[in-house]
Amino acid sequence: MDELPYTEIEHTADWALEVRGGSLADLLVHAAEGMLDLMGAETAPGPSRTLHLHVQAADAEALLVAWLEEILVRMELAPVTFSDFQVRVADSTELEAELREGVRGDLEKMIKAVTFHDLRVEHGPSGWKTVVVFDV
């Protein structure tokens, strides 16, 4: 089995997730998948639809926060969850996403907020990497 592109790392009070990707778009997809995994979000049988999102922010870190917050808020306002993420990034300040919105089954725990704490989206020879801390 392939290694997951995200890893939960130790944090005393909250949740922290290390995320990796071959591109910034990959990183954004893996961050969303990792966040849903942390929350224990499961899709239930039922209708689904494709959703198109456009997110803008001042820089790559703010884009990551805004993207994940967009997903969280939609999950809080309705009993839905998301899968099949496809993200296109024009530059590090804007993304276009296509994702599948389905009926939510189990959800172990909700995240209060995505934080900027020590947040750096880094690009090196082995790809893109970040550690994002969630307030829970």
Binding site: E10, A13, E61, K109, V114, V133, D135
Partner: protein, 490 residues
Amino acid sequence: MRPGEGRRIRVQDFRRLGPVLWELPATHRSDMLVPVRLFADEPLLEDALGDKSLDQAVNAACLPGLVSHITVMPDVHQGYGFPIGGVAASRVSDGVVSPGAIGYDINCGVRLLASRIPAEAAAPHLADLASSLYAHCPSGVGVKGSLPLSKKELEQVCREGAVWVERNGYATLDDLERTEEGGRMPGADVAAVSARAMDRGRGQLGTLGAGNHFIEVDRVEAVFDAAAARAMGLETGMLALQIHCGSRGFGHQVCSDYVRDFQGTLAGYGIRLPDRELVCAPVKSPDGQRYLAAMACAANFAFANRQLLAHHVRQAFEETLRGRVAHTELTQVYDIAHNMGKIEDHSVGGVREHVCVHRKGATRAFGPGFEGLPEEYKLHGQPVLVPGSMGTASWVLLGTAGSMELAFGSTCHGAGRVMSRAQAKREIRGDRLREELETRGIHVRAGSLPGLAEEAPQAYKDVDSVVEVVTQAGIARKVARLVPLAVVKG
């Protein structure tokens, strides 16, 4: 050390100012503007050094316009940006307000209700009571409240807080009297709140949420100050009830909005910080004032939320215990915030300072004589409510003259975590923990077993040790110790 890149903090970096007071000097790192002072005994100091909480306190010491020092409580643990268990006072004249130093769950706090129900008489009915509380108080993820609000009603809640709940018949005037700020934080302006925050708030009034939030039925195990306990309605052997929750998605969104917006405005104020989560704006600037107005709306939402939950709790007690015990009434002891920014006056080194006090995981603890207290509490000081970890004790304390002198009128807020959530999930099974608590006679109703595991008592410090430190330091005084009988968690 370069700004933001200090070496690992060690015990020998501290100066000991007293038996339980330590100072990390402002020379520890070049960008610190004030020292960090920590209340702790040796074991709690070691605990604090075990994660990044003190590095976060050092980062907070870089905020402009701070008065005197950053205060760190013995229940400190690593948070995001600002440590949980931290207090910072910034001058209104030239200081800043930092949304991240108050937290996403604005006015997360605790309410304590007292009863004249003997725990022995209630014992056969506690399982039913736990189930009734779980049924009456919506908890868990994505759960809607019993009182969905129109936009206009939510705007009223933002302005009036718990007063709105009383006007609508779900509270008593005594409840309001025994709530910080009378349950209504001044300065609220709905125009400073985003449409998204309003959307998130409309369905969530009267909900507990998940995470470390809970409703707990306790027995008053011991009283340490009979006169103060009498004024609060607390009596040994009687039931009491705690509600711990905050401003829900409404408050989370308010904080998220301003942490995001201040990323873009920080440079314009010429401020550089070691962590983006600490972004801030001058208190007196339009940006700072707008955040404080929005924060007040969220604080009022939280006061209203705990008030409506108290109404549901009273319904559960009435339905379950009527005819089974002599008295089912629950009277309010106090309701107090532990994530809040407040404009206050404090005397520092003999100088009166007008400051914005950031308390994140710290409780206001004003001493005797404070004018904002109900008459019956003025002689004693402000009640402070310190919930322990699940399955362990909680404490009722009083603010003191010492808390005013040493900690900007603040004290601890809980036990404080020592184990990461990831480790707790690895090592503790929620179903076994529930069984263990039930074996000890504590009835548990929980929406999420993994969530229960993360909140296991082993993941927290010993609340009794924390309380010993704050009382030894003179920043609080003991009134009563409570032990749990039933816990409801989301």
